[in-house]
């Protein structure tokens, strides 16, 4: 079974340019997460979706970050314009819907590594 798929794996852009990351969760997983991982730190939640609804976006910097999950499957995270401090790893993750026995396990993709120069 395929895991969480993210692209691109690596991206280098100049500051003030836009960038987008794509994520395809594990088949059947209704819950999708985007996490930010700065160098030497643990991941921090940016946004969580239940199907196509963003149920927790309190940590998403909405002035420059946006996300969508239009059909409740794959998702896109966008930054526009990018700043030097956005250099980090953007991790996508997914899990089964709440209430199911395996729903407590969150599975992560390999991450999209962003460098802003």
């Amino acid at each position: 079974e395929a895991g969480v798929v993210q692209s691109p794996r690596y991206k280098i852009i100049e500051k003030k340019q836009p960038v987008a990351f794509w994520c395809n969760p594990i088949s059947g997983h209704n819950t999708l997460y985007w996490y930010l991982q700065n160098l030497g730190q643990g991941p921090e939640l940016l946004i969580r979706y239940e199907n196509e609804e963003a149920v927790d976006d309190s940590q998403l910097p909405k002035d420059r970050f946006s996300a969508e999950r239009l059909k409740g499957v794959d998702s896109t995270l966008k930054i526009q314009p990018a700043e030097l401090g956005d250099s980090a790893v953007y991790l996508c993750a997914s899990s089964l819907a709440p209430g199911r026995s395996s729903g407590n396990t969150i599975y992560f993709g390999e991450g999209s590594w962003l460098t802003v120069v």
Partner: protein
């Protein structure tokens, strides 16, 4: 609010020596606890998890962890380190919202294994 403290940012061990990575959490409700491992340039892989039941949890690659509610700890151990264990390890907590709660991560512990 929940938080996770990983007491050591780096842990060096010799090959075949025992490993202990410490994790303490704070939460006012029942929690679910997790350990993830991250190899260089890769995403996070689940090592083990505690949801309920036996407080001693066994995971992949010979790792295990013990949930001690009285000490609010969930330390990760392995009897004998291998060179391939060198990686960063993250402890995480999820609140009693269970499946509806978010994972809160510690800052990570980098395990290095010397020959």
């Amino acid at each position: 609010a929940q938080s996770v403290t990983q007491l050591d940012s780096q842990v060096p061990v010799f090959e075949e020596a025992p490993v202990e990575l410490r994790c303490n959490y704070s939460s006012s409700v029942s929690v679910y606890l997790f350990w993830y491992v991250q190899y260089p340039n890769q995403g996070l892989q689940l090592l083990l998890k505690y949801l309920s039941g036996s407080t001693l949890v066994k995971g992949i690659n010979g790792f295990e962890a013990e949930f001690k509610k009285s000490e609010t700890s969930f330390h990760l151990t392995k009897p004998s380190a291998h060179m391939s264990d060198a990686a960063e390890y993250f402890c995480a907590v999820r609140d009693d919202g269970g499946s509806q709660g978010n994972l809160i991560f510690g800052k990570g512990t980098k395990l290095s294994v010397k020959p």
